[in-house]
Amino acid sequence: MSERAYSDFELSAIQEIGNIGTGSAATALSQLVGRQIDIDVPQLELVSLADAADEIGPPESEVMGVLTPIMRDFAAGLLLVFPVGSAEVLCGMLGVDAYDEMGRSCLQEIGNILTSSYGTALAQMTGLDIEPAPPMFAYDMLGAVVDAVLAMSATSEQVLFMKTALHIEGQHCDFGFLFVPQEGAVGTMLAALGMA
């Protein structure tokens, strides 16, 4: 076992960035759907690659995933994981069918909105220049949807990511929101906060 990559102090700084970013993203979603959004307290996971997928959900469950890469000063992935039932509810609230092209566009747009507000919060806190790329879509088994994203962060023995869940008030709609910094990104963020 290698020594720990991050101190508790550093982890709590990353956690706080996640809290603020997620709050900002939830506000944006709330404005879009006109309902209150409840957020689970974001959890920072520092786990082995083998455990990482299980932390997110059952590997064979069917999900729709929207991945928005963040670029420029550091690289990260923001991944929304919608269980198919929740994707149906959310698309229904916006008047589209989850399973056609409109549904896919709608979920990608939600990814865009959440990532933009999360990214803006992140940029304001750190002073770093970041830019979201266009969102990408996948409809498949959870394991297959998350593995490439985890692989990109898996250059050390452990994977660091932040996960939370968003719930739309009064609806059976709950989905996962993951922030996965890629290699070197955490160091860049900590340095920008004057901690590295």
Partner: protein
């Protein structure tokens, strides 16, 4: 007689068995590769869940994670369990391109294809014959290896199970 076991190979893990009835399983392979090495005559099989094409500094403690180190690692495990290299063959699946977008050239997109190629290269370097492969495309896969028969079953969401 012990009950048959399902051995799970999660990301970056390798499993091996010589017990009749046992299954080796990898669930939800996207860009990852499920590589099976099978010696049917010995009734031995191994399965590794490969994540990235080329080894980096963590390869020493996590050889199963990278295509170029996973092949010799799995070969060693199945050989120890009684398999013999001349009788051995490989079956691989996975290496899909999961996310679609207008933007080309994102490194996330290329991992699947690179994983598949690196695995095939590593097998060729050890002169292990590939009996079957089911790689690429845009659909995730789950794979199950029957240790006793050496048969490999692959399925994706909304697809029929394919025997390899």
């Amino acid at each position: 007689m012990t009950a048959a076991t399902r051995h799970m190979a999660r990301m970056g893990e390798a499993v091996v068995s010589a017990a009749p009835g046992d299954l080796l399983v990898a669930l939800g392979l996207g860009s990852c590769i499920g590589l099976a090495l099978i010696d049917p005559a010995a009734g031995v099989a191994g399965l590794v869940h490969i994540v990235l094409p080329q080894a980096n500094a963590s390869a020493a403690t996590a050889p199963a994670k990278f295509a170029d180190t996973a092949v010799p690692h799995l070969l060693q495990l199945v050989t120890r369990a009684g398999a013999r290299e001349p009788r051995m063959h490989a079956v691989l699946c996975g290496g899909a391109h999961m996310f679609t977008s207008q933007t080309a050239g994102n490194p996330v997109m290329a991992i699947g294809a690179r994983n598949a190629q690196a695995t095939l290269d590593a097998l060729a370097a050890r002169r292990i014959s590939v009996r079957a492969k089911d790689v690429g495309g845009t659909v995730g896969r789950s794979v199950e290896v029957d240790v006793e028969t050496g048969s490999v079953a692959v399925r994706g969401v909304g697809q029929q199970t394919r025997k390899l």
